[in-house]
């Protein structure tokens, strides 16, 4: 019946291909082999009619003669695409606006770029963002509080003590009233040298142009008697789009801030609607680092997301908790998070806790698929120069102000924990700039020094890995005047000044 000459070597090659893509298929080799054998055997034998081939060849040669140079071959490919494509220009721009900012690679100029996004960095005049400290308008006088205090950021020094791991700030330990700890910073690093008197501060560009384009697509629509064209100078803030297909995704597009987040469209992932299987039946899920990254890269390629803009990914593994002790009560992570650090002009961005920040991708271990990704941000920034502190003593004074001491005044015991800090590195920290006039906050990226903690005299009472000091004078002056950390049950008292250890 089947006289197809396809060889066993081809079958073996196809099987090995499938196993390299998904090793779990090896356990189903019998069935898969049968499927492939059937398809190989069923390859239709196709014979093309030589008369047809010759006739079509002649037709094409005749047709070619009728095509003129000016019409078919000298117009720019871009206009040919627009004129021949069935999409309206508005829809084409819609696609471009959705895809291109996030597919933009290293500010290369060889990609088609929407005129309404400007990937890259726009340099503004000095101090274009106004006063960076919070509590006033951006055009006001220097405030009395740190910029890390309002509008989404967190001034750890003025918030109630809470326990946080991996924070660069001293997070007050909820200390019993009969115990007090005084932290003393000791700097043993190299002399702190900042050669430039000014450094750039960045913020993401915002504009309403893309929102206006989106609005134009619906301008002629109406809901009952309400018509959208009655709105004046309108723009769309954000758009939610869902894929209507199995294992689809939902997109949340912030047009004003040029960011995009994608999540699994949960209703189209049936397995996720079930409760997690009991832990005693399901062993902890795990994928290797390379498998996790591969899943993300396949996803990125499917949706044309360019990850080369980001730094080296860091996988945040979570170990199953209590699995060995009591499987029924154990927490078995279903997902793993991966951070792709943001970089601006080669500098990695950190958060106020000193951790790399950027694009967060979650991978569902059971589905072996990306469950969420965000926020993809168009690499569009504004840059403005601010004066930075170059005096080492001033910087070390700011460090001393962060030392802190906790405990009741009438404590009978007080112990000092010495925290040794090493030579700092430079980085950009993501924080928020609050404008009191407009009651809005905008994300900014400021140059900072990151002091690594190299030694702690009592590690049981201290877990921070680094201390962050902003070096923009505008921020540092407000930082120095920041209120002292407030313990849970003690009154504020000023710290005695201590001498910084001389640099070695």
């Amino acid at each position: 019946m089947n006289n197809n000459p396809r060889s066993p070597v081809e079958l073996r090659a196809l099987l090995e291909e499938l196993y390299s893509i998904d090793p779990s298929m090896r356990t189903h080799e019998d069935i898969i082999r049968k499927i492939l054998v059937e398809f190989l055997a069923s390859t239709p034998a196709v014979t093309i009619d030589s008369t047809f081939v010759a006739r079509l060849r002649n037709e094409l040669e005749e047709h070619a003669k009728t095509l003129t140079n000016s019409r078919a071959y000298t117009t720019h490919p871009f206009w040919n695409f627009l004129s021949s494509h069935s999409l309206s220009i508005g829809s084409a721009l819609l696609v471009m606006l959705l895809i291109l900012p996030f597919a933009y690679n290293k500010f290369s100029s060889d990609r088609s770029i929407s005129p309404f996004f400007t990937p890259g960095i726009v340099n503004l005049e000095k101090n274009a963002f106004g006063t960076l400290t919070a509590g006033t308008s951006s055009r006001g006088t220097p405030p009395e509080r740190s910029a890390l205090d309002m509008g989404g950021g967190s001034n750890m020094e003025s918030t109630p003590p809470i326990m946080q791991k991996n924070s660069a700030h001293i997070m007050p330990y909820p200390i019993p009233p009969d115990q007090a700890i005084r932290y003393q910073f000791t700097y043993t690093g190299e002399p702190i040298t900042i050669e430039a008197s000014e450094l750039p501060v960045y913020r993401t560009q915002k504009n309403t142009n893309s929102g206006k384009i989106f609005f134009d697509l619906v301008r002629s629509a109406s809901i009952g008697s309400f018509t959208f064209d009655k709105l004046q100078n309108a723009f769309v803030h954000n758009v939610t789009i869902s894929e209507d297909r199995p294992r689809g995704y939902t997109l949340y597009l912030d047009l004003e801030n040029q960011s995009l987040t994608m999540n699994m469209n949960w209703s189209s992932w049936p397995h996720l609607m079930r409760l997690q299987e009991s832990s005693d039946k399901t062993p902890p899920l795990s994928l290797s680092d390379s498998e996790i990254i591969s899943i993300i890269e396949v996803f990125a390629q499917e949706y044309n997301i360019d990850l080369s803009y980001y730094g080296t990914p860091r996988i945040m593994h979570q170990e199953p908790m209590g699995y060995a002790e009591e499987k029924m009560l154990a927490y078995v992570p279903e997902e793993v998070s991966v951070i792709y650090p943001i970089k601006i002009e080669g500098q990695t961005i950190i958060d106020e806790g000193g951790n790399e920040t950027g694009l967060y991708v979650n991978v569902n271990l059971r589905e072996r698929a990306v469950s969420s990704i965000g926020a993809l941000q168009a690499p569009s920034y504004e840059s403005t120069a601010y004066a930075v502190e170059q005096n080492q003593e001033t910087i070390l004074e700011a460090l001393r102000r962060k030392q802190g001491a906790y405990g009741a005044e009438d404590t009978n015991t007080e112990r000092t924990v010495v925290v040794t800090l090493g030579t700092p590195s430079r980085s950009l920290m993501r924080t928020w700039h609050y404008d009191a006039l407009t009651y809005t906050s905008r994300e900014i990226f400021v140059p900072v020094l990151v002091f690594p903690v190299t030694e702690v005299s009592d590690s049981s009472a201290y877990y921070q890995k680094q201390i962050i000091i902003p070096i923009v004078k505008d921020l540092l002056s407000g930082y120095v005047k920041a209120p002292q950390p407030m313990p849970l049950d003690a009154e504020i008292r000023p710290l005695p000044a201590t001498e910084a250890e001389p640099a070695q």
Binding site: L18, I21, H28, I35, S42, L56, N69, E302
Partner: protein, 187 residues
Amino acid sequence: MNYDESEIITACQQGDTSHFSALYDRYIEKIYRFIYYKTHHRETAEDLTSMTFIKALERIGTFNHTKAHFSTWLYQIARNTVIDHYRAHRPSSDIEDAWDLEDKTDTIRDVDLALKLEVIEKYMKLLSPQHRDIIILRIWQELSYEEIAAIVGSTEAASKMMFSRAIHTLRDKMPQGAFFALLFFHW
């Protein structure tokens, strides 16, 4: 891309289409075969193949040979031409090729092909059009994943994943009885 192919394309784009037939000679059988796998009817395949090459000739000025291979561009045109054909005839249905057609009496198909594909046809219908194309291009036309990716508008890694998923789907949805029937039928 072959050096001579690049030269031919450049010449066509500059107005000298006399060598377009060289491209035609190189790809006519592959494109015809691909279209035939999707239409199951010789005359339909010939018509759509003609349309494909005419479109390619008319639009060669839009082709950027630094971005893709000419063959994959040609396959894309062929694929879209087939889709347009079926949707033009049945605009209310989501049909992309002959595999999507349900009513055999309304289907113009070559008899010998219908017999040959009788067994696997029901399983091809279980797949999405894109997965079917990947099966056809990989198993029947023996194209690389790189070529397949360009044709279906995806990436090499994604194409591999889709091929794997297509086989998964067939494995999950093929009833066990059918496997034994296949085994008995062929061996």
